[in-house]
């Protein structure tokens, strides 16, 4: 079984600033939900259920650093679609769709959302474009019937749901699926020798134009500083008389 994992390079969420209509950062990292996707692919291979894991991301050569991290975790080889534009989720889904057609994996695993734009769209859109089944917000994956189907536990607003999807399918990962491993030193050394294939949209035969444009980004107004209270009595009094919520 061949697994395609897609990952996004995002500003380090612990260190972001606003710069015009973009977010600036001194450091980029692999989107944390995509790291969970990579980890899951590695575990599936370690169980003997997968033979190859191909990583894919979109961006300019600066994202090669995150690609090396993915390769160091254990991804076999990587594809970078060279594109410098600010792409919206639909454009990303269309580019990934072209990569999926080229690679023909049995399953695509990716994070449920990117922690920078929080859109939570790409996996579902990709599934729709390909006409493949989808399992989103997944916290458990099992392959069944000679790997023709996957049984997935999904996290919903009201609890958990179990569905089965015919393969090939798109799976998006939730927090509780696993805990990603750290990159080891031997892994990093091995990663240097692993291939990164660079492709353009032209070479993939896909023409995309982002339909969503960010006009501006701003910090929301800060909440006014609060009051420190010294005791339960004082708190109750404030909640009654000042805030009038009790």
């Amino acid at each position: 079984m061949k697994i395609l994992v897609s990952f996004k390079s995002v500003p380090d969420p612990n260190d972001v600033a606003v710069a015009g209509a973009a977010v600036s950062t001194p450091k980029s990292v692999i989107n944390s939900f995509d790291e969970i996707a990579i980890e899951e692919a590695l575990r599936i291979r370690e169980r003997g259920e997968a033979t190859e894991i191909v990583g894919v991301t979109i961006g300019v050569s600066a994202v090669d650093e995150q690609i090396r991290s993915a390769l160091a975790m254990g991804v076999d080889r990587a594809i970078r679609v060279d594109d410098s534009r600010a792409l919206d989720p639909y454009a990303v889904a269309r580019i990934l769709g072209a990569v999926v057609k080229k690679e023909a994996p049995h399953v695509v695993i990716m994070g449920k959302q990117a922690v920078d734009d929080d859109s939570n769209q790409v996996g579902q859109m990709l599934a729709g474009l390909l006409g493949w089944p989808q399992a989103t917000f997944v916290s458990k994956i099992e392959f069944l019937d000679n790997k023709t189907r996957a049984r997935c536990t999904r996290e919903t607003d009201a609890g958990l749901e179990v569905i089965e999807v015919n393969l090939p399918a798109i799976i998006t990962t939730d927090l509780r699926l696993n805990e990603p491993r750290y990159v080891s030193l031997p892994g990093l050394i091995k990663a240097r020798r692993k291939p990164i294939e660079v492709l353009t949209c032209d070479q993939l035969g896909v023409t995309v134009r982002p339909l969503t444009t960010v006009l501006s980004i701003a910090r929301p107004p800060k909440r006014p500083a609060g009051t420190r209270v010294e005791s339960v009595e004082e708190l109750i009094m404030k909640l009654r008389q000042e805030a009038k919520v009790l």
């Binding site: 969420p13 972001v16 977010v23 989720p89 639909y90 889904a93 920078d116 734009d117 929080d118 859109s119 939570n120 769209q121 579902q124 859109m125 990709l126 599934a127 729709g128 474009l129 493949w132 989808q134 399992a135 989103t136 917000f137 996290e155 919903t156 607003d157 609890g159 958990l160 749901e161 179990v162 569905i163 089965e164 999807v165 015919n166 927090l175 509780r176 339909l211 969503t212 444009t213 960010v214 006009l215 501006s216 980004i217 701003a218 910090r219 929301p220 909440r223 609060g226 009051t227 420190r228 209270v229 005791s231 339960v232 009595e233 708190l235 109750i236 909640l239 805030a243 919520v245 009790l246």
Partner: protein, 320 residues
């Protein structure tokens, strides 16, 4: 014909009220709007929707739609949007909408904006405001093209009034045999609780890692919530430690709430958690650590041991 089409969510028995808040955004956008319900056995649900000022309640009712499988639902939603000529397709920001609507957007060849909290109209064009980076920033985005899909953050829009003259209910006819068949529903495990729903509660009490275990969590967080008639929430750390189920999680990837009163017990205030509570009217934080980041955001801050403070709180609320 309808300018906007609003996907209404239900739990097979009744409408999920936060999904109605999307109607308020449709009203702000202007033009007429239709409500779409998808599922099976929907007569009661459809009848409860006729007074929200829609041009029609469109009902896609079939045994093949009994469970919310994204491949089938997305196809029905996209087809309904096409037939009605809807330019804007809206839903609330729930796990249900986030599962099916992006897929429907792809079928419609349309862009999508997640978690809209406000619109801005300028020179005849509309831009959408949405939180990014765990709510630490707002982005203003504009979309091109004939069609767009939006999800609405329910807490940012008022519930709509149900005082319009009843609109017609129309049955959406489609060929169930033509729906995709690649996904199967197996089972569902939903927590039934007597407490109010987290996203609709007036009061939310929530706990973090210092609550130690499930029993302590219930004894302190649960009882304080009950004394106030509120709902229970939790941080990711508390959920990961098994103290609370995952659907209690509040934050960037959990639930976004905006109650009148939010009480945080032993919560330090990770940015992802603060993203989920910052629209609460009053925030009370109780924490041993005087430097906990949540105190920056709290309306009332009480430094101390929650094992002593919470029982006192419960006692004085009950006495009143």
């Amino acid at each position: 014909m309808a300018e906007s089409l609003i996907l209404i969510e239900h739990d097979r028995q009744q409408v999920k009220r936060p999904s109605l808040h999307a109607i308020t955004l449709a009203q702000q956008l202007g033009g007429n709007y239709a409500l779409l319900v998808v599922g099976h056995g929907l007569d009661g649900i459809a009848a409860s929707l006729v007074s929200y000022g829609a041009s029609a309640v469109v009902v896609a009712d079939d045994p093949a739609l009994a469970e919310p499988l994204a491949d089938r639902y997305a196809m029905v939603i996209a087809e309904a949007a096409r037939r009605l000529g809807a330019k804007t397709i809206l839903g609330t920001s729930s796990t249900f909408s986030k599962d099916v609507l992006p897929r429907a957007a792809a079928l419609l060849d349309a862009p999508m904006v997640t978690d809209v909290i406000a619109i801005e109209k300028m020179d005849g064009s509309i831009s959408y405001r949405r939180p990014i980076n765990a709510g630490s920033m707002f982005a203003n985005v504009k979309v091109e093209g004939d069609r767009r899909v939006l999800t609405v953050r329910a807490t940012a829009f008022e519930p709509p009034a149900a005082n319009a003259a009843p609109c017609p209910i129309s049955h959406f006819d489609f060929d169930a045999a033509s729906l995709p068949n690649g996904m199967q529903f197996i089972s569902r495990e939903e927590r039934r609780s007597d407490r109010p729903d987290l996203t609709e509660a007036r009061v939310v009490v929530s706990g973090g890692r210092p609550l130690k275990d499930k029993e302590t969590f219930e004894r302190l967080v649960g009882r304080l919530a009950d004394a106030l008639g509120g709902a229970i929430g939790a941080t990711r750390a508390a959920v990961d430690a098994g103290m609370a189920p995952n659907d209690y999680q509040i934050g960037q990837t959990g639930k976004i709430i905006a109650p009148e009163l939010y009480i945080a017990l032993g919560i330090s205030g990770a940015i992802q958690h603060l993203a989920g509570i910052k629209d609460s009217r009053i925030i009370v934080a109780i924490n041993k650590d005087p430097d906990a980041p949540i105190f920056q955001m709290a309306t009332y801050a009480l430094v101390g041991d929650l094992y002593q403070i919470v029982p006192q709180l419960i006692e004085s609320i009950r006495r009143a």
